[in-house]
Structures are given as structure tokens and as C-alpha cells.
């Protein structure tokens, strides 16, 4: 019998090895921080306190104080496109959500890249984090496909509780459509037949995420958590006491708050020098002229929106508190942003317009809209409209579904363990949602798995404040429903369809003109030409852009006045007047 076989020696050896290895093991775990992505839905750039809003968001503001605010961060103009890019690192026209399914044009039907979901060919953020040894969790709005091969458990998530659809009730499974009346949910790979008791989107998504993290702690792995709130997307459902919290707060009207937020943003140092506030939409009145009853009614919609934001922040606070309790807060990278600009289109009104079958569905399930005290309750469908969306998007022009700054620029906050950045720093790096996957692949020592991407890793910048994410030659393009944009350095070209745009390319200098008020196309034709060439010759062919042959703008011509002349000599708004031919071309009928 050798000496080393003696039980006492083996015990001493094992104990010694354990003592030696324990610090190594702990060090390894500490070097792999947890990743928490918090995504809000249809939140405007200015809706958090950290970005100049008056809505109470103390927990998000706390992350901003401890982390870094990025004021030049971009998403895509709509929900599914942004989520597809977030999960794949690819342009949404390549990854499967070239447009929103609801608005697919005839020439896009059946084309690869326009399926309306994240194509299963591509690896997801969850896949690479899973391969890096992370527990992977998702709760919230999925919006990346409803078929079995498309749901979270098929896309790299260990645990999930998600709403598969893009919007609907925050209280139950009520959807918006006659042919699709019920929202679909999955939990851990199973399609739910009903929702948990006391379900409310923000509360339940947070509860589930906390339970996933808690139950996964036993295996010692770090976690990758994707918490995709449905708030503050309409319908603006919110329960008491939140529902009453902001009552009367917005009676001053959208014009007041538009200016108030802009002033606060200036005071916070979020805006460049010589910046301006975007023009008020031409079809909205100055709220100063509105009657008190109208202000109260319109204000109620913003009250509910604010309450939803506040409530979401409260639930974020619960999660952060839990992370502190388990000692993981300091070791967690937190990335917070919204998926696109605020919703100012009153899409529900369009989807359920009179005469459509959805209108009958609305009458049955969504008709509780006759009194402001009912708004926010189940079966009411409050949406706050363009006036408040402009406030949410302060100081930008535009809202969700447009590549104007208000539709695509969003509030990004990143808090990173051992960051070299001073807490509360404001940075102006030109960044995009496609950067997140390259950042996390680099963080975990992997290669980007999905081919070419315009996404750039933030890791260098996050570790070294002297570095920047993009240089002056880097560019990013956007296209949604025929509206187009491209930003290179500080220059941006924009082609919005009328009446929101001119239908022609415009050029803006985003160094100071964040509000896109000064079209410099005629002043700098060479820059305009260069950027249009980039768009047409590089962005479009390399990113599978198929411009729709039927834009939703066509219908807008009939319910909104034009901002721009349709015919010579006719000012905006008079394009439908009687046409007067030249006198020499008048003639009597031939008998």
C-alpha cells in the first residue's frame, strides 16, 4: 500500500486542492459578468428622468447615474425589426423582418427577409451566450416568431416566459384581430392555454425573470437575461394606484411639456450647442389654444403612459434590488434602451377602423373607451397619439415607423462592472442596436456567427473611454415601409414619404441639427449625392432592401392635410381644389 493511498492523506490532498482551486473558480466566475438587457417598448428618447423627462423613473435614473448615457444610439423604426437586429446582429431586411407583417407590400410577399420573424438560419444572442456557458433567460415580448422552431427555447434560451405577439392587452390574452383574437404566450417552450393569476405584463415578466435567476443560481453559471417589457406600448393599461398617480399632471398640454423637456435636456447637457426643438406637427394645434376639457381628456392619455413608465421602472427596481440581495448587482452588465420611437400613429384606430372585421372585434373586446376614468382598465385601448409622442421624442422630429430621429434614436444606458467611465457620463458615440451582438460575442471571446454586419463592438469603448465605437466613415442605413435614411458621421440623408416628409431626399447635419429642421440638400449637393450613392449602391443591395410598391402613406393622403404643395400655385392643404385649365384650352361641347 503506497503512502498516498492512505485515507488521511487523500483527504488532506483533496482539501488542499480544493483550497487552491476555489479562488481560481471564483475568479473565473467574477470575470464573466452577468448580462441584463432591459428593453422597453415604444418608449421615447425623453421619457426617463435621465433623458429629461418629468416621469418618475428613479431606478432607471439610478442605472444612468452609475453607468453611461449614450445620446447617439439608434434602433430600427419599428418593434420586430429592432428585435430581429438585437437578437441576430444583422440588418432586419436580411434577418427576416424587412417590414412589419401587418404592412407587407405585394412585391415583398414571399421574399426571403420579409417573413416577419427572425429566420431560424441565424444564431441568436442567446445561442452565443449559451455557448459561452451562460444561463439564458427571456421574459416579456418576443415578437420574433410564433412557430415552434421560432420560439425562445428553439433560439437558445434555457428559460422563457414570453408573449409571442407584438401588442395586445397587458392584463390578459386579448389581441386586436378578428382572425387572431388571442395573444400567444410560451413558458419554458410550451404554448400557454391561459395566463398566470394576477397577470400584468410588467409585473409578471419581472416576477418570472427573478424566478429564473433564482432557480438557476444552483449551477453557478452567470446569467444572460433579456427582459423585454411590453410597457409602455399601447394599450396604455395600468392599474391603481398608478392609474391615478399622474391625474391632472398633463393638463398643461403637450406644447408645455415639449418645451419643458427640451429645457431640462439642455440643462442636463444632453443636447449639442445650438440645438433646436423639432417643429410641432403641422396637423396638431398648439395645446395652449385647447379647452380645459380637451386638455384633460388628451392629458389623460399621457397620464396613463407616464404611469406605465413609472410602473415599469418600479418593477425594474424590484429586479435590481433582488440582484443586490444575491450579491450580483455589481457583477452585472445592465443595458437599457427602447426598441423604437414612441407610437404616434394611432395604429389601433387604423387596424380597427369602421367597416373592417376588426371593428366588430373592437366593439366586442375593446369598447371601454367612452370615459376617461375607464381608460387604462381591461378592454380599453388608450393610445396617446402624435401630440404626446412628440413630447416623448423631444427634441426630435418624428415617431415610431419613421427613420426621422424621433423614430430611431433611443435612450441607451449601459452600466458595466469595473467601468473606467465616470458614473453619469454622457457620451455621443454613434451606436446602433446591431452592435450589441458583436459586443457580447467579443466579451465572451467568440466570433460573430451570422456573416457580415454593420454592427460594431462597444467593448473597446466601454473599457477605455478614450476609444470610440465608429469613425467618420462608418455609416448605418434604415428603411421601413419605403421611408429611407442613412447616417454617415454627422451627416444624415432622409427620405420620408409625404405628408411626413417630402418624398425626396433631404440632408441634415446632425452635429447640431438633431431636430432635422434645416434641409441642407441644396447647400451641400455633393454630400447629398455621396450619401444617396452609399444608400442605393451599398446599403440597399447588401441588405436586401425591397422598397414596397404600396406604401401605407397612400391612405394617409386622405385623412391628413399635405404639408407640401402637390401642384404648382397651390399651398399645402389646397391640393384637392378645382383644377383650372389654361383659358386657351377651354371649349364648348361639340353638338
Amino acid at each position: 500500500m503506497s503512502f498516498c493511498h492512505r485515507p488521511v492523506f487523500r483527504q488532506i490532498l483533496a482539501t488542499s486542492l480544493l483550497i487552491l482551486l476555489l479562488p481560481l473558480s471564483s475568479f473565473a466566475e467574477e470575470q464573466q459578468p452577468n448580462i441584463l438587457i432591459i428593453l422597453s417598448d415604444d418608449m421615447g428618447w425623453a421619457d426617463t428622468g435621465a433623458f429629461g423627462g418629468e416621469i418618475e423613473t428613479p431606478n432607471i435614473d439610478q442605472i444612468a447615474r452609475e453607468g453611461v448615457r449614450f445620446v447617439n444610439f439608434y434602433t430600427n423604426p419599428m418593434c420586430t425589426p429592432t428585435r430581429v437586429t438585437l437578437m441576430s446582429g444583422l440588418d432586419h431586411h436580411i434577418a427576416g423582418a424587412g417590414t412589419m407583417t401587418l404592412f407587407t407590400a405585394p412585391n415583398q410577399q414571399g421574399k426571403r427577409g420579409y417573413e416577419g420573424w427572425l429566420l431560424p438560419d441565424y444564431k441568436t444572442l442567446a445561442n452565443i451566450m449559451q455557448e459561452a456557458g451562460y444561463n439564458t433567460y427571456v421574459s416579456g415580448k418576443w415578437d420574433l416568431g410564433r412557430f415552434p422552431e421560432l420560439i425562445p427555447t428553439s433560439r437558445g434560451f434555457d428559460r422563457d416566459f414570453v408573449m409571442l405577439d407584438s401588442h395586445g392587452s397587458h392584463y390578459d390574452m386579448t389581441n386586436l384581430y378578428t382572425d387572431n383574437p388571442k395573444l400567444m404566450f410560451t413558458e419554458d417552450g410550451k404554448y400557454l392555454t391561459r395566463l398566470p393569476k394576477d397577470y400584468y405584463s410588467s409585473k409578471t415578466y419581472t416576477d418570472k425573470m427573478i424566478s429564473f435567476i433564482e432557480e438557476g443560481r444552483s449551477n453557478g453559471k452567470p446569467f444572460f437575461a433579456y427582459l423585454a417589457y411590453q410597457a409602455p406600448h399601447d394599450p396604455h393599461h395600468i392599474d391603481e394606484p398608478w392609474r391615478s398617480k399622474y391625474q391632472g399632471k398633463y393638463d398643461k398640454g403637450w406644447t408645455y411639456f415639449h418645451r419643458a423637456r427640451y429645457s431640462k435636456q439642455q440643462a442636463l447637457g444632453l443636447l449639442p450647442e445650438n440645438s433646436e426643438l423639432a417643429e410641432r406637427y403641422w396637423y396638431l394645434p398648439d395645446s395652449e389654444v385647447l379647452a380645459p376639457i380637451t386638455l384633460a381628456t388628451l392629458g389623460r392619455h399621457m397620464e396613463l403612459y407616464a404611469a406605465m413608465m413609472n410602473n415599469m421602472d418600479y418593477h425594474i427596481g424590484r429586479l435590481l434590488e433582488y440582484l443586490k440581495e444575491i450579491g450580483q448587482y455589481e457583477n452585472t452588465v445592465i443595458i437599457f434602451f427602447g426598441d423604437n420611437g414612441p407610437e404616434g400613429n394611432n395604429t389601433f384606430e387604423a387596424i380597427t377602423a369602421s367597416g373592417l372585421s376588426n371593428n366588430i372585434f373592437r366593439a366586442k373586446h375593446w369598447s371601454q373607451e367612452h370615459h376617461i376614468n375607464v381608460l387604462g382598465t381591461p378592454n380599453s385601448y388608450p393610445e396617446y397619439g402624435a401630440g404626446w409622442a412628440q413630447v416623448s421624442a423631444t427634441p426630435f422630429y418624428g415617431h415610431k415607423s419613421f427613420p426621422s430621429e424621433g423614430g430611431i434614436r433611443n435612450a441607451l444606458i449601459v452600466k458595466m462592472p469595473d467601468s473606467k467611465h465616470i458614473g453619469g457620463t454622457i457620451r455621443t458615440d454613434f451606436m446602433h442596436v446591431s452592435d450589441i451582438m458583436p459586443t457580447l460575442t467579443e466579451l465572451t471571446g467568440q466570433e460573430f456567427p451570422n456573416g457580415d454586419t454593420s454592427g460594431k463592438s462597444w467593448l473597446g469603448m466601454l473599457r477605455d473611454p478614450a476609444q470610440h465605437v465608429r469613425d467618420e466613415d462608418d455609416w448605418i442605413g434604415w428603411e421601413i415601409m419605403g421611408a429611407m435614411a442613412l447616417r454617415k458621421g454627422d451627416w444624415k440623408i432622409l427620405n420620408n414619404w409625404p405628408p411626413y416628409g417630402t418624398g425626396n431626399w433631404q440632408l441634415y447635419d446632425l452635429k447640431s441639427d438633431w431636430a432635422e429642421r434645416h434641409d441642407l440638400a441644396a447647400v451641400h449637393p455633393e454630400i447629398l449625392k455621396e450619401l444617396i450613392s452609399l444608400y442605393e449602391n451599398q446599403y440597399m443591395p447588401n441588405n436586401n432592401i425591397i422598397l414596397p410598391n404600396r406604401a401605407i402613406s397612400e391612405s394617409l393622403w386622405w385623412n391628413k392635410p399635405l404639408r407640401f404643395p402637390q401642384f404648382d400655385n397651390y399651398p399645402p392643404g389646397l391640393y384637392r381644389q378645382q383644377y383650372h385649365p389654361p383659358p386657351e384650352m377651354l371649349a364648348e361641347p361639340k353638338e
Binding site: 391632472g248 394645434p285 385647447l290 380637451t294 384633460a296 388628451l298 371601454q368 367612452h370 376614468n373 375607464v374
Partner: protein
């Protein structure tokens, strides 16, 4: 202007629908005012209630002491009409109401006689004034937004009632329209909103109205008009559980408990009785400015001859107007 704005412009019209529950009406039972009587509405709103009542029992419904006429049958067809107005008083919501009973009453008594004895009275009863002021609860509704946002939550008022003895009273008559004595009441109406939404189609409330009733003397009482009728203070408790069936109709389950004070008529003293009654009310709006309600109430445990018996059918119409709402209607801005 976009669709949202247009909808908002129409809201004053919708507001009127919210107003309909806040009607004024009266009950045949003098100490049991109807459900939703103490809900608040826009300052400056005027009301004209007209209440038709058919009663059947053994007490005079206009007599707050409810002296039982044993072996007697009292029938009556009454109307109560009046005026009420909401206003702000020392920063609180308040209401002043005047109600005028009128009609006819008849009594058939069989006690101690081979043939029934009939008597009747008609004309005007004693006018009734009520002042009500909120102590705990929402601020006065000075603007349309205030009115739209009204949620009673828990609210408590103080009410002071006074009946002035100027109605028709004939000494020696078995029954009269006027009571020939002052009486009044001090109470504390309380409303508890049930549920967190207060809007047409969603309103549910529990209302509790405890009150003390005070009586003056009638010095011309009795068959010859030479007796004094005195009554000690009594108390009452009214309760209503109200609920909207839909946007336009609400119902109420009503309960009233009354503890009468000891009374003295000449040398005869008697202990105060107590009784309970239950009933129901249903109400709806019939025009932009008018609501109607129908109710029934009947006493409980009233089989013994000395028990108070009374059943009441009532049909109420309340016309209401507010200058601002009417102005909006005239210029077509109320969505009507």
C-alpha cells in the same frame, strides 16, 4: 385636427352621460332619501325633481313621527316637486334643495265602529329644505375636467334638513297634508366607492346615511285640536347598494331602519317604535337633460296591528341643466 382631438371635443356630451347618476329626487319616506342622492356633480348644476308616489299603509308618510293608525288603511297619491342646486361652500361641495309635497291622502279606519270611517286631505304639505355639505371627499367640481374625474372614493357629508309647518293643516282632522310642527334632521351621508373605476357602466357604491331626527311640538293635535303632540328625538339609518347595469341603467337595493323617539300626546305616552323597510330602485336617462327612476319600498315584519306598515311605489323624473353644458350643446360641441 386629428381624430383624437375630435373625440376630445365631443367629450362634454359624453360628460352629460356621466352626470345622470347625480340626480336629485325625493322619496315618499321623509327620512329615507333615495340612492345616489349625495353623489356630487358640477358646481352650478340645477335640478328640478318631480316625484310621483303611490302609498299604502297605516301611517301618514308625511309625518316623520310615523304615528300608527291602528286598524286604519291610508292611501295616498303624492307629488313632490322642487328645485336643487349644487354650489361650492367654503371650498367644499354643497347642495341646497327645496321640496314641496302636494297631493291627496285618504284614511279608512275600522277601529271601534260598525262602519268604516273615511277621511281625506289634499293640497300642499310642509315645504322641506335640505342643506348638504361635503366634509371628507373630492373637492367641488368647478370645471368640466373636475366633473369628469369625479371619484367619490370615501366621502362623508353633513346634512341639515328642516320642514317648515306651513302646509295645509286642519285641527281635528284624522289626516293632514301639513304636520303643524317643525321637524328636522342632522345626518352624515357616507359614500364608499366599490371598485377603482367610476364611470358610466362601472359605478358601484355602498351608501350609509345615519341621521338624528328632531321634532317640534304640535299644539293643535287630537280630535279636538286641543292636545299637544311631542316626540323625542329619533334616529334613522339608510343604506343603498347601487350598481350600474350598463352605461345607461343603474339599480339599487335599499334598506331603511328607523328608531322613533318616545312620544307624548296629551296625557298618553308611548314608547318609540322601530321598523325596517327594504326596496329597490332602477334609474335611466331618457333625454339629454332628464333622468327617470322607479322604486318600490315596503316595511318588514309588519303583521301585528301596531306595527308600522307602508309600501311605496315611486316614479321620479329629474330635469337638470348647467349653463356651460347647455352652451356646448347649443354650439354643437357636446357630440350629441
Amino acid at each position: 385636427m386629428n381624430r383624437r382631438l375630435i373625440k376630445a371635443d365631443k367629450l362634454p356630451g359624453l360628460f352629460i352621460a356621466a352626470l345622470i347618476c347625480m340626480l336629485v329626487s325625493v322619496s315618499a319616506n321623509a327620512v329615507s332619501l333615495p340612492p345616489r342622492f349625495y353623489h356630487k356633480t358640477l358646481v352650478g348644476t340645477n335640478f328640478i325633481p318631480i316625484l310621483g308616489i303611490s302609498i299604502d299603509g297605516n301611517v301618514n308618510p308625511l309625518d316623520p313621527s310615523y304615528a300608527v293608525n291602528a286598524d286604519a288603511q291610508i292611501d295616498g297619491n303624492l307629488v313632490m316637486a322642487g328645485y336643487a342646486r349644487n354650489f361650492s361652500f367654503f371650498g367644499r361641495s354643497a347642495q341646497l334643495a327645496y321640496l314641496q309635497p302636494m297631493g291627496d291622502l285618504s284614511i279608512r279606519s275600522t277601529a271601534g265602529a260598525e262602519q268604516p270611517t273615511d277621511a281625506s286631505a289634499n293640497g300642499f304639505g310642509d315645504p322641506f329644505f335640505e342643506f348638504n355639505m361635503n366634509l371628507i371627499g373630492p373637492d367641488p367640481q368647478r370645471t368640466l375636467p373636475d366633473a369628469l374625474r369625479y371619484n367619490p372614493g370615501f366621502s362623508m357629508d353633513i346634512l341639515i334638513d328642516l320642514s317648515v309647518p306651513i302646509g295645509e293643516y286642519n285641527e281635528g282632522e284624522a289626516i293632514n297634508m301639513g304636520m303643524n310642527r317643525v321637524w328636522g334632521r342632522v345626518g352624515f351621508p357616507m359614500i364608499l366607492q366599490i371598485g377603482d373605476v367610476w364611470a358610466p357602466g362601472h359605478r358601484t357604491s355602498l351608501e350609509v346615511i345615519p341621521a338624528v331626527i328632531l321634532y317640534g311640538d304640535n299644539d293643535d293635535f287630537g280630535p279636538n285640536g286641543d292636545l299637544t303632540q311631542s316626540t323625542d328625538p329619533g334616529s334613522s339609518l339608510a343604506m343603498h347598494f347601487t350598481h350600474d347595469l350598463n352605461d345607461d341603467i343603474w339599480i339599487s337595493l335599499d334598506y331603511t331602519y328607523l328608531q322613533l323617539g318616545d312620544s307624548e300626546v296629551g296625557p298618553v305616552e308611548s314608547d318609540g317604535q322601530s321598523f325596517s323597510s327594504v326596496g329597490a330602485t332602477i334609474s335611466t336617462q331618457i333625454t339629454r337633460n332628464m333622468v327617470a327612476s322607479f322604486g318600490y319600498q315596503s316595511t318588514l315584519d309588519d303583521n301585528a296591528p301596531e306595527d308600522i306598515k307602508m309600501s311605496t311605489f315611486s316614479l321620479n323624473f329629474t330635469f337638470f341643466w348647467a349653463p356651460l353644458l347647455d352652451g356646448l350643446h347649443r354650439i354643437g360641441s357636446d357630440g350629441e
